[in-house]
Amino acid sequence: MRRLRAVLSLVMILVFGLAAASAVAAPLDAFAPQSGLAGSLDIAGGTAHIPVMKEAAKRIMTVNPALRISVAGGGSGVGVQQVGEGLVGIGNTGRPLTEAEVQKYGLVSFPFAIDGVAVVVSPANPVTGLTGKQVADIFAGTVTNWKDVGGKDAPITLYTREDGSGTREVFVEKALKKGPQAATANVVNSNGAMKTAIAQDPNSIGYVGIGHLGESIKGLHFDGMVPTQENAASGAYTVTRKLYMNTRGAPQGLAKAFIDYVFSPEGQEITKASGYIPLGR
């Protein structure tokens, strides 16, 4: 009897253990040393992609140290050019490819995430929404007091992101329509730092990736559109863009496995943790 129980529990441990192991490691199994994958993969281009690419690369290289995956920035233009000329395996862009680019290089695009940006203020600020024009005027430095846009009588303090930031790129392009920006704005270098600054300063205005909205800051309605993950995914909120991975021709070998991994549930978790909304294939 006792022996039977011991055998049974051993079997159960084995079954559960195996189930757990396979459930946890499944997406990464493709990269295990016995998978036959080898060599290196270079990734370059859009800066917004970097956190996702780096985390995915790190996890893959932990499973199989023989693989080498390098991740560099440079911007969407660099991404297209380098993947087109075969200098890197995957070139990232924060915009859809143009017809000319697809024709010239024979590129294939994989949109894997939506990057939405919300205009944010301190929760203490009574303002709940602004029009695109008001936001553009505030960031251009022509409107400098909250009372001019329906708030209390207090000077507006501007916060922006550093040049080269993907979040800034979306904001300037989609919210400011590439309008001018006041040089006096305070500059912070991450979504986290932006959150801290905005939460602390009752007269502040800034912007963060929609994934970073939380209790400590208030996302403003923009032209009546409510900044939420759902609205960004459905298209009801338009200060967004898609993030793309691009390959020359259909991806093969390590590049294909990498793209598959980014679309796997685990890859989508990484995308979400980086502040983006993951897209299925």
């Binding site: 800066t47 970097i50 560099a72 920035g73 440079g74 911007g75 660099v78 000077p155 303090t157 916060y159 550093e162 040049d163 080269g164 930031s165 993907g166 300037v172 040089a183 006096t184 704005a185 305070n186 500059v187 912070v188 270098n189 991450s190 801290t196 600054a197 602390q200 300063d201 007269n203 502040s204």
Partner: protein
């Protein structure tokens, strides 16, 4: 080194150090030269930083670095001197001992702790004066002064202690009070060391990245008042590096790097000079009753 008895391991270590420093200089120069020599050279040495419009001027950042370091020194150096006065005869002995330990302890606090605490305590206070966001020249200068204080106090303290040992009794025998000994004998004698402390403090202040990055606001312009934001060279490099690689903005960083390197090399040389000539400047040589 000259006596020929230096162990090989020591020589190796020295050679590696020298090579390392030479390599840093070499690489930064090699990368910076094309930027400075090409058509972009003038673009880099201008007053406007607008990468989107193709303008890569780093002069506002140079100005920011110099302003911030000088103001931190202006606040920190007199304070360091006062603390040293307290420790050397102007204050009672027991609190002075505690003070010395406190200052030594301050040296061990990581920069990021100063920055983080200031964001939550100092910045709201400065903001309450009603001028801007609180992330400004003033906030950064105050904290930076605190940060460089231990460095300066340790140097001043060491020099004064060396002198005090021999001079305090002699001064007392002449009927001078401890305060008189400090002001008229010890301070003039330690003059070079006081300057050395200032130069060291400046080097530290100009090289610090985290305090200006977290507290100075980082707007790339020249501040008109202490409540305006400024951007230092170090913070500028950290900001551009965090997301970019391979663009013109990125390459312009090497020009910023060579400027910073020149400043810190200048500071080291200045310290060397001062020290070299300071060694034989005994207090009695400058004795003026």
């Amino acid at each position: 080194m000259r006596d020929g008895n230096t162990p090989p391991a020591l020589r190796c270590a020295a050679a590696v150090t020298v090579l390392g420093i030479a390599a840093v200089f070499g690489f930064v120069t090699v990368y910076a030269l094309p930027v400075l020599l090409s058509g972009q050279g003038l673009a880099v040495l201008s007053w406007r930083w607008l990468p989107a419009a193709g303008q890569f001027g780093i002069l506002p950042m140079v100005c920011g670095s110099v302003l911030l370091a000088c103001s931190a020194l202006l606040l920190g150096w007199p304070l360091a001197l006062c603390l040293c006065g307290w420790m050397h005869g102007l204050g009672p002995a027991r609190p002075a001992r505690g003070l010395r330990q406190l200052v030594h302890g301050m040296a061990a606090v990581p920069t990021v702790v100063y920055g983080f605490v200031s964001v939550f305590l100092l910045v709201p206070l400065v903001r309450q004066t009603g001028q801007g966001s609180g992330l400004c020249w003033l906030s950064a200068a105050l904290v930076l002064a605190l940060l460089v204080l231990p460095t300066m106090v340790v140097i001043m303290d060491a020099a004064l202690r060396e002198q005090g040992r021999s001079l305090r009794l002699a001064g007392a025998a002449l009927g001078l009070s401890p305060a008189q000994v400090f002001a008229h004998v010890m301070l003039p004698g330690a003059r070079r060391w006081l300057i050395t402390a200032g130069v060291f403090g400046f080097g530290r202040a100009v090289g610090d990245t985290l305090i200006p990055l977290m507290l100075a606001g980082n707007a790339p312009g020249v501040p008109a008042s202490p409540f305006d934001a400024l951007r230092t060279l170090t913070a500028h490099m950290a900001l551009v590096m965090s997301t970019d690689a391979g663009s013109t903005a990125y390459h312009s960083l090497f020009a910023a790097g060579i400027l910073l390197l020149a400043v810190s090399a200048g500071v080291s040389l200045a310290v060397r000079r001062l020290r070299g000539s300071g060694q034989d400047a005994l207090p009695d040589a400058e004795w003026r009753p």
